[in-house]
């Protein structure tokens, strides 16, 4: 409204002075219209650009790196849990292992679905943990923090009885600590609603499970 009154106010002022009323006035109006159109296009474009800003995270984003790495990290927790679930004689271990395996396998599904939604590959070519600042040295022999070595996995596969239960709990304890650390790093780096939601539940869920694991370890080692 304030803009539109300006040409109106200017036009009558120039009109009586020149005497040629319609032509000059039209020129001024057309000029104003062009200025307005250009301004409008720029403002609209800028507005559209700002509106379109919450785009999906890209291939080298912290979110994509986290989803890929956490998928791999989770997959090993599923692997350890399935071994314990199949081989343990302790009903409490069988329940806990089944719970961890099902939960983390489903969470891999969430993470992979988001990468797919964003049009990104399920895996990347960057080294593991590259999305995390100061992550140099965190990856040893391709293993992210908390991950069990091939030797530890081989031992777990052949373990039996209480030895299996203790090995499983000890490995999972380390695994959870590493996973919580990664999820906390993501929370510090990202504002993505979906990814921070899942990472937040991982921190809380795994911290709660750590309490259970510590309690069970104490009981088993007291025997």
């Amino acid at each position: 409204m304030t803009v539109s009154t300006e040409p109106g106010a200017e036009a009558p002022a120039t009109a009586p002075a020149t005497g040629v009323v319609p032509a000059s006035r039209r020129r001024v109006h057309v000029l104003w219209l062009v200025v307005l159109l250009v301004f409008g296009l720029v403002a609209g474009g800028l507005g559209g650009y700002l509106l379109a800003q919450p785009r999906n995270p890209g291939d080298d984003s912290a979110e994509a790196g986290f989803l890929r790495d956490m998928s791999t990290h989770h997959a090993q927790a599923v692997e350890m849990s399935m071994i314990a679930h199949a081989n343990s004689d302790n009903p409490a271990i069988v329940t806990l292992a089944g719970d961890i395996a099902l939960t983390q396998h489903q969470q891999i599904g969430y993470m992979q679905a988001w990468l797919r939604d964003w049009g990104l590959s399920p895996t990347g070519t960057q080294p593991a943990m590259a999305w995390m600042p100061n992550s140099a040295g965190a990856v040893v022999n391709g293993l992210m923090p908390g991950m069990a070595t091939p030797d530890q996995m081989a031992k777990l596969r052949t373990a039996k009885g209480t030895e299996l239960d203790i090995q499983f709990l000890t490995l999972m304890r380390q695994h959870h600590l590493g996973g919580i650390h990664m999820a906390q790093e993501l929370l510090a780096l990202s504002k993505n609603k979906d990814v921070t939601w899942l990472a937040g539940t991982m921190v809380r869920g795994q911290q709660a499970e750590l309490t259970v694991i510590d309690e069970m370890l104490k009981q088993l080692q007291a025997k």
Binding site: P12, G40, G44, E79, P122
Partner: protein, 264 residues
């Protein structure tokens, strides 16, 4: 539109309807809009002939107001729509190259899905030793048990019948000629260990130093430092899965040439 108190009473509305619905609230709007309309007529039709009518100047200036506002609104809308289209087209571009196209674009990659259309879907389980038309095999019927493919580095040959099942789960199987020099094996190992949907083993009878296979795709190269290895892994790993979500864990970790019938 927003009529005050008395108009909302049903009885008065009914009365209004019979005489002419909505007239009272419409009046003020009409009054304001009729002025520029009349002015337009005066400016366009009688502008030349009737000079003495002075209101022409005032109303002539006013008529540009709505036009300018309209143009501004239209331009802003156009800008927003324009950017929206640009953003959508831009993001579609990122997604526009499917993984299998990327795999085919790598020089030396053989797409066996075209040659064997049955490799465009999952295959049956079969026990015992099986024969495959491609070596190392890239798909087909396979053992019910899959080879563990959690970044496992097998130092001895593994049963191909179990390995093919892992390919169906989306894994990339890295194979190398037995006796390949240790440095090259270490390079391959660094690409595989700790990464799920990847596993490696020596393979007897390879015609090149290294062969990578995913379900329906194969790449053979001479050197572990060949950059096409990473490209192939990124394109095919997990993407080639015939059963999205199928795991690489809970598989067999045994080596040898007798197909494993139980996990781990």
């Amino acid at each position: 539109m927003s009529t005050p108190g008395p108009e909302r009473v049903p009885s008065t509305v009914k009365v209004d309807k019979t005489s002419g619905q909505g007239k009272p609230p419409a009046r003020p709007a009409k009054a304001s809009s009729s002025r520029p309309a009349a002015a337009k007529k005066a400016a366009a039709g009688g502008g030349k002939a009737r000079k003495p009518i002075t209101p022409v100047k005032v109303s002539g200036g006013r008529s540009w107001g709505p036009i300018a506002v309209g143009a501004l609104v239209a331009a802003v809308a156009l800008g927003i729509i324009g950017w929206g289209v640009f953003a959508v087209v831009g993001s579609e571009k990122e997604k526009s190259t499917p993984w299998d196209e990327r795999a085919r674009a790598i020089s030396g990659v053989v797409d066996y899905r075209t040659q064997y259309p049955e490799l465009k879907q999952a295959a049956n389980h079969k026990s015992g030793v099986l024969t495959y038309p491609v070596s190392p095999p890239v798909g087909g019927a396979h053992n019910p048990v899959w080879q563990n493919c959690m970044g496992d580095v097998y130092t001895a040959p593994i049963p191909k019948e179990n390995a093919v099942h892992s390919l169906e789960h989306g894994a990339v199987w890295v194979t190398y000629k037995p006796g390949l020099d240790a440095a090259q094996i270490d390079t391959l190992k660094s690409k595989v260990e700790g990464k799920d949907y990847l596993f490696m083993s020596p393979y007897t009878g390879l015609d090149k130093n290294i062969s990578l296979q995913g379900w329906g795709f194969q790449l053979k190269v001479d050197s572990a430092s060949d950059p096409r290895i990473d490209e192939f892994i990124k394109a095919v790993r997990q993407n080639a899965s015939m059963e999205p979500g199928a795991a690489c864990s809970s598989g067999s970790t045994s080596t040898g040439d007798v197909p494993a019938t139980t996990a781990s």
